[in-house]
Structures are given as C-alpha cells and as structure tokens.
Symmetry: C2
Subunit: 217 residues, 2 copies
DNA sequence: ATAATTTTTTAGACAAGTCTAAAAATAATG
DNA sequence: CATTATTTTTAGACTTGTCTAAAAAATTAT
C-alpha cells in the first residue's frame, strides 16, 4: 500500500514520463508537485525501495512496470471520478479536478469497479483524456493540436491540453465543447490566430487557444 | 480546516457524547480510536486551541457548538456515502462502513449537496441511523430495542445497534431487514430469547440479537 | 482518612514528510 | 579543458501524530 504522498509522487512521475522519454529529474518532479528537489530525493529513495521506480543518483527516475500500473490505477480513479461528478452530480468540467484529486486516493477496488459500471464503462474523462483500464493500459488516440490544421481542414474537438478552470470557462463561453466539428476558414500569419467555424458560428481563435485544443481529423 | 486525525477525534467524541451526558474521558476516546490516552491528551489540547472542544485537565472533554456542527457534518457525509454505496453501487449494508470511513473526509460542499440530491435527500443510512442535516441537526426517533418488547407486541424493524459485518450478515441470513414487521410470540425467561414472527416465518432470536435490533412501535 | 489503585498528564523519543543551507556532481561556457 | 553555473544530494532541523515510561492527580477501598 502507498501513502497519499507516495501516490502523488507516482502520479506526477507518470504524467512527466508520458511527455518525455528519458529519466525524470528530481527538479522536474519538484516543480510539478510544488515542493523542493531535496524532498523529492528523499521520497524517490523510498519509492525505489518499494520497487516502483528505478533511481540512480544524479540520473533521474523512471517507473518500473509495477510503478506504471500503480500510477495508471490512480489516474484511472481520478478520471472515473471526474466522469461521475459531471454525469451524475452536475459538476461542470472546470470544477472536477480538485475534488477528483481527493477522491482518487480512496482505496476500494469494488468501489471503482461499480463506479465504472454505473457510468457505463466510459473511455474518456470530461476533458477528453483517456481512462486507463484495470491493467493500466491506455487507449491513445491520434489527436492533434488545432493549431496544426491548415486552411479549410476540419476536425472533431476531442480534448484539451490545458485543463485550467480559466481555459475551460473560456471554452464554455465560446460554446466550444468536446465532440463538435471545427473548420479552419482562415489562418492569420501575423499572429497565428485562426478564423474557425463551429456550430454554424464563425469566430476568431488566438494562437494560445489553438495550441490547447485537441482535434481528431 | 481539520486534519484527517482531528476529524476522527471529533467524530469519536461526538459518538461518545450521544451515549453519555458527562465529559468524555481521554481513556474512552483512546479506546474508541484504538490509540493511547497520552496521544488523546495531546490531540485534545490541539482541538481545544481550535475551539471545537472544551478541555480542562483531568475533567474530560465536551464538544463546543462548533465542534458538534463539525462532527455532525462528518457523520452526515459518512451516512450519505453509505446510502450511495448501497443504492447506486450495489454494496451490501455490511460492506459500506470501511469505504465510508475514507469518503467522509473528502472536502467539497458541492459534492455532498449534489450527492444528497442524487439520493433523494435520504433521512437514514442503510443501518437505520439518522443523517444529520446541513446544520448538524439530527432527527432522533423513539426507537427501542427489540429485547424490550413484551409477548404479543409488534413493531417495525428500524435500525441496528451493532453494525459489525458479522451481525449484519447474520440478519441477512435470517431475512431480517429494515422496514419489516416483527411480532413477539413468546419470551423465554431462562435465556431471555424471543420467539418471533417476521414475514410469516417463525424463528427464535437470542438475547444478544434482540439487544442489537431497534424497533419502532 | 489514609493507602492502594486507576486514570490522566508530562517528558522524551520516534517515523513520515517536509524544509534550508551547504556540499558534491554534472552540465555549460569561454 | 578549465572554470562557471546549474542540478542534485546530503546533513541537520522542524512539524504532526504517535508511542513508552514515569509522574501527578483522582478515585476507590480498607
């Protein structure tokens, strides 16, 4: 069994690993957990003893198979709870993260299995992120950033890169939700903004927005 | 805000207070939390600083109004989650306690309000215990122990005194569930057992069982 | 009412997880 | 390649919540 703190470290390393393919530096972990590198060193030694990470001094850490499975299970719980909050408890997608951060640490396999079933075995959370299965396998889709679309290309909105409340509420305001079709009508070279059509509405989208919206062609 | 440990102390004191009407001894708290009296003394000082208990050395502790409200809110969460587990996730009444012990510490007022609504604003948990309202008020019913019924008296089964898995599974086996009508056909003086009728079935019930089942006349 | 017993508190220690400050190793630069 | 600069680790300290052992207070019994 893992402590709350250990679980948070595992999750952080898991997410960092999916971005890079090398060992994760203590500094990177410290930044992501808003703690100090010295604390990370201590914890990483402990996780290494528990055989969920491989750690050699000054070399960064990588998750072992056990570590990956453990971390994926926490992410699975987090995302299932997010679906629950939105589908069953009328939370909006910008409100779920904080609560799911707490719920993800509840220990009860039956609880999660039954929740999964109650929700109809969802494959993605409210932000479009895939929900790992019981064995920790993730169904990765070939989604691309909206910003990579050329003029006159279309795609379905399938996820967000930034899931901060501010960004999500912005999308709500603009009626941009997952599943909608987006067409790029124009690309403005001088500021890399896009002029798009969604739901019959035409609107301008900044580079920053386009860099945080995932599309499936 | 309160730590996990503080919340567990508050809950323990809350439950102990409902049984007795004097200050709660450190020993009693220690027993109920399976810890040592010295640890209780330390924690009780902390809770006193936070103004949720009144504590004078060697005099035991009592909850302040704030303490009562805080504790009742934790109990409210515990019991709502128990209803959720039984009603929505197909848990049986002997499986819910342990998971609810974890879920009761999740901090999110919206979560609890929405859960309450999803469940149809239940008034009692699966064991018949009342669910405190948002202000911490509890609807106490005039329930009595089955063992206090005389021959030929009837009542509705409304709760359990002992909610251990063993006892609850025993009741399941005997098809004794909340809401059912029980008639005392006979009282055996030599061992204080009862011969009862429930659902048209006649069966014998030991003193111990009769002392752990609540009835409403 | 004094002695014996029990309960409660104090004092000091320990583990987990964190921090700061300093030392050691690695990486970057001229 | 020698010297900065950066990153990482170590050492020691602090907090929370716990424990044991001993002292102090309260209770019970003789």
């Amino acid at each position: 069994m893992f402590t709350l703190s250990e679980e948070n470290y595992l999750k952080a390393i898991y997410h960092l690993e999916s971005d890079s393919n090398k060992g994760i530096s203590t500094n990177a972990i410290a930044k992501s957990l808003e703690t100090k590198a010295s604390s990370v060193t201590d914890m990483v030694k402990k996780l290494s003893e528990k055989e969920v990470v491989i750690y050699k001094k000054y070399q960064g850490v990588t998750l072992t198979e056990l570590g990956k499975k453990t971390a994926a299970n926490i992410v699975r719980k987090h995302r299932l709870w997010e679906v629950f909050l939105v589908e069953k408890l009328n939370f909006s997608w910008d409100e779920v993260h904080e609560v799911a951060e707490q719920l993800e640490h509840i220990k009860s396999p039956k609880l999660i299995n039954q929740l999964d079933s109650l929700l109809g075995f969802p494959t993605h959370d409210p932000h479009g992120d895939p929900i790992p299965d019981k064995d920790g396998n993730v169904n990765t889709v070939d989604k691309i950033l909206l910003s990579t679309l050329s003029k006159n290309e279309k795609g379905i909105c399938v996820g967000v890169n930034d899931s901060s409340s501010e960004f999500l509420r912005f999308l709500d305001k603009k009626k941009i939700t997952l599943g909608k079709k987006i067409t790029v009508l124009e690309r403005e070279d001088f500021d890399d903004s896009l002029f798009i059509e969604i739901d019959g509405e035409k609107l301008s989208i900044s580079k920053k927005i386009a860099n945080n919206l995932y599309i499936k062609k």
